[in-house]
């Protein structure tokens, strides 16, 4: 029997097995999910994402994402001093260098709240770009920098008036900002990989590229883009007090090799890239070791004495503690494998990771007290703050924020979505590929049918409810199958979900809130270009007056509120590496954000769907359109 046949047989058996599992479990799980969904109570939790000490160390500012508040606590007693309402889904927080103002980036309102730290009141709300996620003021108090996740840029505001002066081009999904210790530079990161400048036709088979965008704080211009090769998902940056060592938390995906065997090499490495004078050329070091993964690294803090570095790992629900001297010793004494990464060495972290401290659910932001003895960790999904004694590396206390006493179905589902506990050796969770419940901008080799076959683009989960079947090929009839047999057994290589975990996860995914569409905000009229594009989307005749066959109209496959008729169709996009050319018509929810496109991510932009991959009008009648008409159509699609 040939290798191909064996692979085919195995794949076939896999499909049969999944079908059986689905057939056996689906009716019960589906009923259970529906029942749980009906009971979803929508309790409002605090969801602490970031924590900061005030300039004098006497107070804590806790950014609470779900309740849309900054909670001000006494730093010793944790007594509540005041809850300050800010905008929807705040994500970024920072103090002015003087400590007199607190800035909060409200990611769903596209604003920054300015809080007077004396009166503890919002004194201004400034409009910024789309989905602001990070904010920092320069040392001189001249400019406020705001990282905008959707508009992929960094807004530069007058720090006193809030007037926007300009936008700097950031990385894709610009999110987090850090001021260097000397105040000269601002280091910006982004959560989705950048797209290459040139179309090569191999984009979906090329390692992702990310960057740290370095901004000259005084001139407010980008002066450097530090490349992060093979990285997708870059989070907080931290510096040592002397400025000689920088570290950034990041994901290193292995999306180019089949994911099916998580136990045979994993899907991600969780790493740091170190940079600065202490290390010379930037170097990537792993946080993982076998059976002890540091999934979803997010926050980084370096102690003032430069002895310790702390990394919060949202998926692994722990804080990784690194001995900085040993870390530097390791990178200085070991020959660096090309291209400057130790990522393949899962024994490496044993040289410098000195503790892995279990904390709460989905730990994110951290803050170190002035004396360096207390590390506070915001546990987003159980509304707690862990206080770690840095001398013992133990959790000294856990402070529960005010809020619901019970775990709602949605909260339980969200915890299940974010945790990596359920996967083999705790390597990944749903949120590893669906960062902040969105997506990762990557194309994946998922099936065990050989390298580079059946490449699939990762999709957005927003609005996924009611768009079944799932998978690009539409072979999963419902979310319990998608999240259960497919994800749990096939990806996770574990069978740890109990019925409650799975059904609540499904409820969470179904009920996941959809971000406001930035191209057409509620109540806003469409622009003339969007109106023209809508007419093209809905047209039934081409420009020559010929009837467009129903199945070849945009509005046929992409019908309904979510833009899908849920049918499996062939739009002529099959590649030589695909086993089939039939794919489910994808929903159009927030389509402007989800590049790359098509089932295999081969179209880098919406335009390329038609300019490159629709030569025969199989993917809708578009070749009669002029360039400006195609632009109009895309303007409309972005409003979906």
């Amino acid at each position: 029997m040939s290798g191909d046949r064996q692979v085919g047989l195995r794949a076939g058996l896999g499909v049969v097995a999944l079908g059986l599992v689905a057939a056996v479990f689906w009716p019960r799980l589906a009923a259970h999910a529906q029942e749980r969904e009906d009971k979803a109570d929508g309790l409002e939790y605090a969801s602490p994402l970031e924590v900061l000490f005030s300039a004098d160390g006497a107070r804590l500012f806790v950014l609470c994402q779900q309740s849309g508040e900054i909670r001000v606590l006494d730093a010793k007693s944790y007594a509540v001093i005041k809850n300050i309402a800010v905008g929807r889904v705040p994500r970024g927080i920072s103090l002015s260098p003087k400590g007199d103002r607190l800035f909060v980036a409200n990611s769903w309102d596209d604003t920054v709240s300015v809080i007077d730290t004396s009166s503890l009141s919002v004194v201004a709300t400034w409009a910024v770009g789309a989905e602001p996620s990070g904010v920092v003021e320069d040392r001189a108090g001249k400019h406020l920098f705001v990282a905008n996740r959707i508009s992929n840029d960094i807004a530069v505001l007058d720090a006193q008036t809030g007037a926007e002066e300009k936008r700097l081009a950031g990385g894709r999904g610009s999110s987090y900002l850090t001021l260097s210790p000397d105040g000269s530079g601002i280091y910006a990161t982004h959560i989705y990989p950048n797209q290459g400048a040139q179309r090569t036709g191999l984009e979906n088979r090329t390692p992702p590229e990310s960057e740290i965008t370095v901004i000259d704080a005084a001139r407010a211009v980008v002066v450097e883009r530090m490349p992060l090769h093979a990285i997708a998902g870059v989070f907080h940056v931290a510096f040592s007090a002397d400025g000689r060592l920088g570290a950034v938390a990041e994901y290193h995906p292995k999306n180019l090799v089949p994911l099916a065997h998580l136990e045979h090499g994993g899907a991600f490495e969780d790493t740091l890239t170190l940079f600065g004078a202490d290390v010379g050329k930037p170097v990537e070091v792993p946080l993982d070791e076998l059976e002890r993964y540091a999934a979803q690294p997010f926050g980084v803090v370096i102690s003032a004495d430069k002895r310790r570095m702390y990394v919060s790992c949202g998926g692994s629900e722990m804080v990784t503690v690194i001995d900085v001297a040993r870390l530097l010793g390791f990178v200085r004494t070991h020959a660096r494998p090309a291209p400057g990464t130790f990522v393949q060495d899962l024994a490496a972290s044993g040289n410098y990771v000195v503790a892995r401290i279990a904390v709460g659910r989905n730990p994110r932001g951290m803050a170190l007290s002035g004396d360096g003895r207390r590390l506070l960790v915001a546990n987003r999904l159980d509304d707690t703050i862990s206080a770690i004694d840095t001398r013992t590396n133990r959790v000294a206390s856990t402070m529960k924020l005010e809020g619901p006493k019970t775990i709602s179905i949605l909260r339980h589902g969200e915890q299940t979505f974010y945790t990596a506990r359920q996967s083999f050796q705790g390597q990944i969770g749903c949120a590893t590929c669906h960062i902040d419940s969105t997506f990762d901008g990557l194309t994946w080799d998922l099936e065990p049918d050989g390298f580079g076959r059946d490449i699939v683009d990762n999709k957005l989960l927003e609005g996924v409810k009611g768009t079944q079947p799932y998978k690009w090929t539409g072979t999963n009839p419902n979310l319990p199958t998608e999240c259960g047999p497919r994800t749990e057994k096939y990806f996770w290589r574990s069978e740890q979900y109990d019925d409650l975990a799975l059904t609540d996860l499904v409820v969470y995914v179904r009920e996941m809130p959809t971000r406001p569409n930035r191209w057409k905000l509620a109540g806003r009229e469409m622009t003339p270009a969007q109106e023209r594009g809508k007419a093209l989307f809905e047209r039934t005749k081409d420009k020559f007056g010929q009837e467009i066959l129903e199945y070849n109209r945009c509005s046929y496959c992409h019908s309904g509120a979510k833009g899908t008729n849920q049918k499996i169709v062939d739009v002529g996009t099959q590649k030589a590496s695909d086993n089939t050319g039939k794919f489910k018509a994808p929903p159009l929810t927030n389509i402007g954000l989800t590049a790359p496109y098509l089932h295999d991510g081969s179209a880098r932009t919406l335009e390329e769907i038609w300019t490159v991959y629709n030569p025969d009008d199989q993917h809708g009648r578009t070749n009669d359109l002029t360039k400006d008409e195609l632009n109009d159509l895309i303007e409309y699609l972005r409003t979906r």
């Binding site: 508009s151 936008r167 081009a169 400048a197 335009e607 632009n631």
Partner: protein
């Protein structure tokens, strides 16, 4: 019969034109006032020592289409890559770095962000902090991959292409296309663009100058009033010719270059420049760069020219001997040679920019740095 009729018609046109000219020609006092503001004595026209860069010095290619001064950095758009000169060394960006195409035709600086925009034969590229992002007609709303002109104003990037003009809004990512369907553009071969906060001007090959009012969103058009391609019937009654190659809007003055002379327009009066009555070395003008309301540089096929509002200076290798040459023409038309030892690399001038009192010149055979000499 037809010829006679045409002659009569032209005579009528000419007579009408002269009558209109008599009514609307700028008063002499107006011209004199302008001239007095900035004009120097002929002997005081700027002198330069030209340092020339070629591939021997590290320039990517000797055919240089465009030059851009960016603080201490000089960018050169060449036939074979984008060069940047910094700290006395050249670095070259090519398609391997993500540049849209090897031939870089035009350059613009976003003064707010420091980003450089490069229009090429294969699309538009943004160079930002060393990263190149590329927009093409396939991957974006760009109207055409042959980009002749680019200009940045605020959050908009204005682009001139071989298939109309377009605008990229950097905040929304949206593109707006300008062509014969929504502007008074008779031809869509757009050769240059100059954007300011108040107006945007497009230089259109065969369709004059298009003006876009940023406030009202309305378009206006300036054409050659005589419509004649072969001759100039009404010299100062409007744009000198329909084939416009370059535009600039400085201090509320429109400077326009054509292959048949140059034009200056102050919103009321036109003043045109031809070799026969100005110091222009050639009517074939590739590029024009206004310094202010009265002064401008002209890049022609026969050398580099400077106009100070009254007097002209021409810098070039002699057309006969190839030796460095500078000539000065005063208001009365008197031409005086000035002894010089250097000249721009070539007479075919494609791009001009300034660095303080210095001038940078892109030519068909090298890039030249004119270093202002004390006089």
């Amino acid at each position: 019969m037809k010829a006679t009729g045409k002659r009569i018609g032209m005579a009528v046109l000419l007579a009408c034109g002269l009558a209109v000219a008599a009514q609307t020609a700028p008063p002499v006092a107006h011209k004199a006032r302008v001239a007095r503001a900035t004009a120097a004595a002929p002997q005081a026209l700027p002198r330069f020592r030209f340092e020339n860069f070629t591939t021997a010095n590290g320039l990517p290619d000797n055919h240089v289409y465009a030059v851009l001064v960016d603080g201490e950095r000089i960018w050169a758009g060449t036939e074979n890559g984008l060069g940047v000169y910094e700290n006395h060394a050249w670095k070259t960006y090519t398609t391997k770095d993500g540049l849209a195409h090897r031939a870089v035709l035009t350059l613009a600086l976003d003064k707010h962000t420091g980003d450089v925009w490069a229009g090429t034969m294969g699309g538009l590229s943004r160079i930002s902090g060393g990263r190149i992002d590329t927009y093409t007609q396939l991957n974006s709303g760009l109207s055409n991959d042959v980009v002749y002109g680019v200009s940045v104003e605020g959050e908009d990037v204005w682009v001139a292409t071989a298939a109309g003009g377009c605008r990229l809004n950097l905040r929304s990512g949206g593109w707006t296309l300008y062509n014969e369907r929504n502007t008074p553009m008779n031809e869509i071969w757009v050769y240059g663009v100059s954007a300011t906060a108040s107006k945007v001007y497009y230089a259109v090959w065969g369709s004059g100058v298009l003006e876009y009012d940023q406030k009202t969103g309305r378009w206006d058009k300036y054409d050659d009033p005589d419509g004649e391609n072969e001759m100039v019937l009404f010299k100062d009654q409007g744009l000198i010719h329909e084939i416009v190659t370059s535009v600039g809007f400085v201090d509320n003055i429109l400077w326009a270059a054509t292959y048949f002379g140059g034009s200056r327009y102050d919103g009321r009066y036109w003043h045109n420049f031809l070799t026969k009555d100005s110091g222009l070395p050639s009517n074939f003008i590739n590029t024009i760069k206004g310094v202010d309301a009265n002064r401008a540089w002209f890049g022609t096929d026969k050398g580099l020219a400077y106009y100070d509002g009254v007097n002209w200076a021409v810098y070039r290798p002699s057309l006969t001997t190839g030796k460095p040459e500078m000539t000065v023409r005063d208001a009365k038309g008197k031409v005086t040679p000035v002894a010089v030892t250097t000249a721009p690399a070539h007479n075919y001038v494609l791009g001009i920019d300034f660095a303080g009192d210095d001038v940078w010149v892109a030519t068909a055979k090298g890039l030249s740095h004119g270093i202002r000499q004390k006089q």
